[in-house]
Amino acid sequence: MAIVMAFPVKTFLLLLQKLKVIIGLLLSFYILIGVIGSCISSKLFRRLQRDKSIGLANLIKQMEATEQAERKSMNKSIAFASASHDIRASLACITGLIKLCCVDVLPDSDVYRNLIQMDSCTAKLLGILNSVLEISKVEAGRMELENVEFSMAQTIEESVDFFHVVALEKGLEVIWDPCDFSVLMSSNVRGDCRRFKQILDNLLNNAIKYTAEGHVVVRSWAKKVGSKEPEFTSIQQGNFPNIWVHLSRCFCYVGGAYPNKKPHNSIYHGQGDMEFTFEIDDTGIGIPKEKRDSIFKNYFQVKESNLGCEGTGLGLGIAKSYVALMGGNISIKEKLPTERGSCFMFNIFLESNDVSSNNDEEGLDSCNIPILNRLHSFSTKTKAKVQSNIHALAISQGITVEGIQCLLAIRRSETSRILKDWMKLLGIMVSVAQQPVHMYAVLKRMTHNYSASGSCDSSIGSSGVNSEYSSPRDENGQVLTFSMKDDPKKASLKGSNKYLLVIIDLDLGDFSEMHNFLTCLAKGNHHFHQYKVICLTDSTASCSKLPCDLVLHKPIHGSRFYKILGLMQEFRQTNEDLKLEIVRESTELETKKLLSSAYLQQSNCKVLKDGIDTKPLSDMKILLVEDTLLLRQIAEKVLSRAGGIVTSVDNGLKALEVVTSRISEGNSRRLPFDLILMDCQMPGMDGYEATRNIRSVEGYDIHIPIIALSAHAAPEEAKKSLLCGMDYHLTKPIEINKLLEAIKLISQTLN
């Protein structure tokens, strides 16, 4: 098919011409628009590029400025740290020179007094410099935490004991509340003990400084950080790159600057790490809310509360730095409006070294670890489990609390509360007398008014003591409350109450009333088969005022609990009970001790003579293991002068060889030596290793008493000695009186 269009030629040409113009105009128009458009877009593009360049340049400038400032600050800190070392060396020299000058002047002269004053000022300068140096070390990134084994419970106890003495002058009560006892159970840790102590001491010092009356309580909890994946503290969590940032990098790369840089101090909490949380709660003047954020800054002090208080304002800054290095955080906890004072809270992460948490059973060690550390299945998740576990623990250690009642007469409220609630956790019925004169009535009530509903907290003389204790906490940090009504084992506590434990605070005064009460107890005007009396005191002078079974120095915490438990254990240990104890299941060391006591009696163990004796060691065969010739000669002389027959060796390996050969040669039932004095630090085989080897060679029928000799007086050394199998620990040089005391204690323990 073909389509034909016909136009008249002339009309078509005219039309075409017109169209040409229009087309030309349109084309020109489009070209113009295109040109204008490209001009505009190129301008815009150039502007965009320019802005981008300017932005990039500014960012780079800012980054450089920041880096420069950081470098300057770092250099300043490093320079300051170096300068501080020079200053410290000079101060040490000044101290030395002052001491040398003191030698050449008369003690009564003004010059001598001035020199002593100079020495004291130098010591203060050194203290201030040490504080500043610590901070500069942290800022310069040169602070390295130590990694040593230590006992958390012991460290807390030492600090609180120290500040208790300081606080006595102000009449304050300072005590450690173990709450759920988790710290006591996970006490063996690895970390920087010295710096942890500094944190705690700093907070305690501040609390006491700013508290005029009332108390300062240290609370503590331990929790295992048991996740499989690494955890980071909340300090670092907010700084991690998130998905949006990753995506934004793909679309907007700006000069290689990544937002949310990963912090270089992130701390890894792997398996086995423990988180320790502490509260230092006082009833002092408190800290205004507006000052709380600034208080951890260096050199800051709350001025209006600083009247008469010394200090540089560095302590909390240093404490915060140390806490951060240990992976934790420090803050001020909000208190109720009715509560006065302040409460500092901090947490740190340490590596657990505890035998129970590592599931590593060692029979010999188990006797030397404090009793409460052997809670293997402890959980703070439910209050019932806490209570029943502690109860079960006491039973598993041979401490049956059935039939034990306790009468408390304590002056200080926190001490009374802590003791009361600990006893209740054990399952012991507790009654409280506010004054000595009320003790008779309370005793009467205890013996006659006992009921199964557990109304055991018969507190007399107060406006009403709440028998529920609220400081243990569950996993959400919620306060747990306890009551004897919730005790699932209460049925087992029914029956005759045979044993009475009386805990009297000598600081209540009124000794005549206390004495009369104890006389009344002794006469047996009650239904208890046995009773024991514990006296609490701050002063050694008042110790002898009352007849008692145990005197404990306040504050009552930590190791004092074990002593109270030990006394409770004695309730059932009559002569008949001791013979039966041989048959019961016990640890290796217990068995060995009991067996060796029998053999010691047969092997004519030297019994020390009482009274004045020029040869108190009475021909005891002593093996002396000491590598330093000087010390060995002195010790040989001391021992032989006191009547000992001394064999000396200069290292652990020779000691082991001598003991082994004598055991194999001699009568197996006779000890090759009556005593071994073992130096701890020796080259090659040290005293600890030698002792472990000797113990393994001895077998079950021999136990040679071994006393550790060490230059260090630290409690950790003593514990280390006991843990490796030694029986006692003495510091050098040997003093015959202390040695005799040690021998007596060992023979009492073994017998």
Binding site: H85, C93, G96, V103, T628, L630, Q633, K637, P733, E735
Partner: protein
């Protein structure tokens, strides 16, 4: 010289040593250990201490002079010297050791050198005073006398 004068000199000298803090109660215990069977016990142990301390001070200098200082080793050596000083009754030397141990724990090399210098000073002083004491004792014995009881 008259024996009594020598004995008086000895008493004054040893009293000054106690008063100025060079000696403490441990030295008295060592003197009490001396008897007829071991008449030179104190001199023997003090001589041992001189040798031990000399050697330890040299070792300390060598250890601190290393390019990389092993502070644990320094600490162990100072502890050893402290132990010997405590056993012999050299109180001021022991006190100097205590300061040294603190500097070791902090890893402060400059301060350690300062402490070593002070320790050497204390030991040298102590040694010279004890040597003077022993010289007087020898003179007393040579003159036919005996050492007074303190």
């Amino acid at each position: 010289m008259d024996v009594r004068l020598l004995q008086r000199q000895w008493v004054d000298h040893i009293s000054a040593l106690f008063r100025e803090g060079f000696l403490d109660a441990q030295f008295t215990r060592l003197q009490k250990l001396q008897d007829a069977s071991t008449p030179d016990f104190v001199v023997e142990v003090v001589t041992l201490y001189f040798e031990d301390a000399d050697r330890l001070l040299n070792n300390l200098w060598n250890t601190l002079s290393q390019p990389v200082v092993d502070f644990k080793k320094v600490d162990a050596q100072v502890h050893r010297l402290k132990g010997s000083s405590v056993s012999i009754g050299a109180q001021r030397v022991k006190n100097a050791c205590v300061c040294f141990i603190i500097c070791c724990e902090e890893g402060d090399l400059e301060a350690c050198f300062g402490c070593l210098h002070r320790l050497k000073l204390e030991f040298t002083q102590w040694k010279s005073k004890l040597e003077a004491l022993f010289r007087i004792e020898q003179q007393i014995v040579a003159a036919g006398g005996s050492l007074p009881m303190i």
